[in-house]
């Protein structure tokens, strides 16, 4: 029986559970002996003109070896925007010396013999800044009264799409519109950012850093520092979570390498959480306007989504997130007309990047809220409106009006499975009972049906990934992958795939990643791409290795290659119909290196889908919400290891509920962050979540031979709107029609009060 599809516990766990994995700050590599500690001096002003940076006192402080400022980096070109459609004048200084544009912007680098000395000395660097008015929020940015880059003449970094035609909703019997905030959140991987660097006598730099893809990070750093990529060796140690925020390289990583060169010693850096909450990319941060129109029978005829994306101060991946939001705007629905448009605006805040789902959760949140608003306006059950409008089941490609080609889908079935598992009719009856009785704790039932795009990018921007499989003479095997696991369990999963084809047991298979000398190419782990591309590459490599082995074994066994079959028990090849005649892969490897390196190219991206039902109890006197149930159908095609897939779902659900109920990065009107520690940022805890109810559904994709779609982000995409819709549903009978995320007790309480005073 194949190991694929079975629940296999992780081979990487014993290390994590006994000694702990080696994260960047744990490194004891001898090349880092005597490394100096880096402490960054960051702007505490959101927008202002630097008058002076005085390092004299810091230079006298104990343990200080150097303090690097902008004047030490004049041979480095500033960091370009990185997107061809963004004005070339939008550039980022390595260390600010003229204007600062967000709290957390880098100003100086303090190098000390030990960590504590660095914190002391950094406080002694005196930075005098003349404040300018700060641009906070997309509305202020769009007014263009204060400009981040006066030479550019506008805060609009990019614009996508055209306005909807004036008659877009003509003929609709009902039209509903709503302004929706998809708030800024902090990714908060438990491991903050960390890096170390050392230059060799050969002129090469070795950089260790916490990231989601060594190869892309290396290319970015090499480009920024003006180095030939062959001079950069990047190693990814164990990584304590990424969630999109560790995609590519951050300027800090390149600076670590540069200051190591300046001081001629190895250096290392690991940031504090309060530094992380202003220095690491944030996610989401869209202001949306949805408009939905259709017939009184519940048929939606036209849907429009207009997005203002907050990019933060400097362009990062956030600049292109709205294009994914636009692509997925229509979601699972067969709306006759879909319109989407977006602007991207610079503000005096931390830059926006990818965060679990990256552009797609924002699309789903908007359309799922819009469908609920439409249903509420008509007085229809939101499940009925969804059933009426979803794209009918399809198993050959379906191209949407936004230009996405969905691979396979059966949205109505996903919804029905979720509703059945939830006991939807009973829940509605209980809700009616509590409403009738005027209970303090009202029941809310929230739905979402989602589809998302996964595996859109990959190695060199294409939907591809490479893998190497080698069997050694001792019977062990090594798998090299261009993916970059940081919790996903690739060491187990990729070994399962190789084991399934070669018969070599899991414990004899080592999976390596994240070393650019060993694995020069790779697309990393992001966008829920790893299994469908990286796993498929391992599958292909192992298959090609079997074919190579057959050719070699045929000679030895004096048999036709076509008569050779893999003998799982032997971990080798046997002659069909001739018991006892065979040869192991290990024996073949002893004669000649048995290694295959290959690149898998997917037929295209995949579109996992599902339906979530969230049940909440809302205390209408305090506004407090408790999530009591979360029922989820997440169809990610064929499942390789349900243990790992379910783990991805669980984590996704939690981050979705967190955004819907709790988490938000806040700034005051001067651009000061007010949620820059974990005491202030309400990171979701175990007490704020239920155990989850998972419903299985698997519709394979033809895009790869594993039949797998992405599962990393789906949970977040489905659970966020289902939770928000549930909270609003709990108080809908009191006249509330919308509450923005996070639906905090204060917001719920105020929404009830406003509704009862006649407006919402």
């Amino acid at each position: 029986m194949s190991i694929l599809g079975t629940r296999v516990v992780r081979t990487e766990d014993p290390l994590f559970l006994t000694r702990g994995a080696v994260y960047t700050d744990d490194l004891t590599d001898e090349r880092l002996t005597g490394a100096l500690h880096v402490t960054f001096v960051r702007s505490q002003v959101a927008h202002g003109r630097i008058l002076s940076v005085d390092t004299s006192a810091a230079l006298e402080a104990p343990g200080v070896v150097a303090v690097v400022t902008a004047t030490d980096l004049t041979d480095l070109a500033p960091i370009p925007a990185g997107f061809p459609f963004v004005d070339k004048a939008v550039i980022r200084p390595w260390l600010a010396s003229d204007v600062v544009r967000f709290v957390g912007e880098l100003i100086a680098v303090v190098l000390t013999e030990d960590r504590y000395q660095g914190e002391d000395a950094a406080e002694m660097v005196v930075v005098d800044i003349d404040p300018l008015p700060a641009v906070v929020g997309t509305q202020a940015a769009a007014r263009d009264e204060v400009l981040l880059f006066p030479d550019v003449g506008t805060n609009v970094y990019a614009a996508f799409g055209e306005p909807a035609p004036e008659d877009f909703f003509a003929g609709c019997e009902v039209v509903v519109s709503q302004r929706i905030v998809n708030q800024r959140v902090a990714p908060v991987p438990l491991e903050t950012r960390a890096a170390a660097a050392v230059w060799g006598e050969d002129g090469r730099v070795t950089i260790w850093c916490s990231n989601q893809g060594a190869q892309a990070a290396k290319m970015e750093i090499a480009s920024w520092l003006g180095l030939d990529p062959s001079l950069v060796h990047l190693i990814t140690p164990a990584v304590g979570g990424g969630f999109g925020a560790k995609i590519g390289a951050d300027p800090e990583f390149a600076l670590i390498a540069q200051v190591a060169k300046i001081v001629g010693r190895p250096v290392r850096w690991s940031e504090s959480r309060s530094e992380n909450l202003v220095g690491m990319l944030h996610g989401r941060a869209q202001d949306q306007v949805v408009t939905i129109g259709g017939r009184r029978d519940g048929t939606v005829e036209a849907y429009s989504l207009v997005v203002d994306q907050d990019a933060g101060a400097y362009p990062r991946l956030g600049v292109v997130l709205p294009t994914l939001t636009m692509l997925m705007a229509g979601g699972v629905y067969a709306f006759a007309k879909v319109h989407a448009q977006a602007r991207v605006l610079g503000t005096n805040t931390t830059s926006i990047g990818a965060y679990r789902g990256a552009g797609r959760p924002e699309a789903t949140a908007a359309v799922e809220r819009a469908v609920d608003l439409f249903a509420a306006e008509l007085g229809m059950d939101p499940a009925d409106v969804r059933r009426k409008n979803v794209i009918p089941a399809f198993d050959s490609p379906h191209t949407t009006s936004m230009g996405a080609t969905y691979d396979t889908g059966n949205y109505a079935a996903a919804l029905d499975k979720a509703l059945e598992a939830a006991g939807y009719a009973d829940l509605r009856a209980e809700q009616a009972r509590r409403r009738e009785a005027g209970d303090v704790r009202q029941l809310g039932i929230g739905l979402s049906v989602y589809v998302e795009i996964t595996g859109a990018g990959g190695e060199a921007g294409a939907a591809s990934e490479n893998a190497t499989v080698e069997v050694h003479p001792d019977g062990t095997a090594t798998v090299l992958t261009g993916t970059s696991p940081h919790g996903q369990g690739h060491a187990t999963a990729w070994a399962m795939i190789a084991s399934d084809q070669l018969g070599i047991p899991l414990e004899k298979i080592t999976v390596l990643h994240g070393d650019t000398d060993l694995i020069p190419r790779g697309g990393g782990t992001m966008g829920s791409r790893s299994l469908q591309q990286g796993g498929a590459a391992v599958h292909q490599a192992a298959g090609e290795l079997v074919e190579l082995a057959k050719k070699r074994a045929a000679e030895k066994l004096e048999a036709n290659p076509e008569d050779l079959v893999v003998d799982q028990g032997l971990a080798g090849l046997a002659v069909r119909g001739t018991p006892g005649v065979g040869i192991t892969f290990a024996e073949l490897a002893a004669d000649e290196q048995l290694l295959v390196q290959t690149t898998f190219s997917a037929n295209g991206p995949t579109f996992p889908f599902g339906a979530h039902v969230v049940v909440v109890e809302v205390d209408v006197e305090s506004g407090k919400t408790e999530v009591v149930r979360l029922i989820a159908v997440d169809d990610a095609g064929t499942i390789l290891n349900p243990l790992l897939a379910d783990g991805q779902r669980h984590g996704g659900f939690a981050q979705g509920v967190a955004q819907a109920l709790l988490e938000e990065v806040l700034y005051d009107s001067d651009g000061n962050p007010t949620t820059s520690t974990l005491a202030d940022y309400p990171f979701i805890s175990a007490t704020e979540l239920p155990s989850f109810e998972l419903v299985e559904m698997a519709t394979p994709t033809p895009m790869n031979p594993l039949g797998a779609k992405g599962i990393g982000e789906a949970g977040t995409i489905g659970s966020t709107p289902a939770t928000q819709n549930a909270v609003i549903d709990a108080v809908a009978h009191l006249g509330v029609r919308h509450i923005d995320m996070p639906t905090t007790p204060m917001r719920v309480f105020r929404a009830i009060q406003q509704a009862q005073q006649g407006g919402n």
Binding site: T18, R19, G20, A21, L190, T677, L678, A686
Partner: protein
Amino acid sequence: MQVSITVNGQQRTDEVEPRLLLAHYLRETCGLTATNIGCDSTSCGACTVVVDGLSVKSCTVLAAQADGAQVTTLEGLAGSDGELHPVQAAFRAEHGLQCGFCTSGMVMAAIGVLADNPDPTDREVREGLEGNLCRCTGYHNIVRAVRTAAQAGPAAGQVPQAQEVVQ
């Protein structure tokens, strides 16, 4: 200043700065890097260790305060034959970890929860682990792991060196 601390059953004496945090003492002076640091506000619990039978956040204790104390970290849990502690074994069986960064603190805190309450309900586990944050698992499998570990009996709430652990 000088401190004498018994770490995972081994007594050691070190010269430390008075302001050195126990978390940094364990990581940098003792080289025990399973104990991680995830915040600077005693919020995340990644640095949780057991000190004289109490599960504590080692980022909020000075090494000087631990002078004379018995400290157990994740590295001190498994038997000399490599046999996993019941909580370690349960975290693996139930997939209670993904990126692993919170895991050390989560395991040490879970031992504290089970010391206090050998047979907790889901809700009691959740309340007991409220001070330990995880971004990967949604806590679902961590709760299951702690419930599974409880089935091993009193050993699940104890650390080696016969320390009695209370929360």
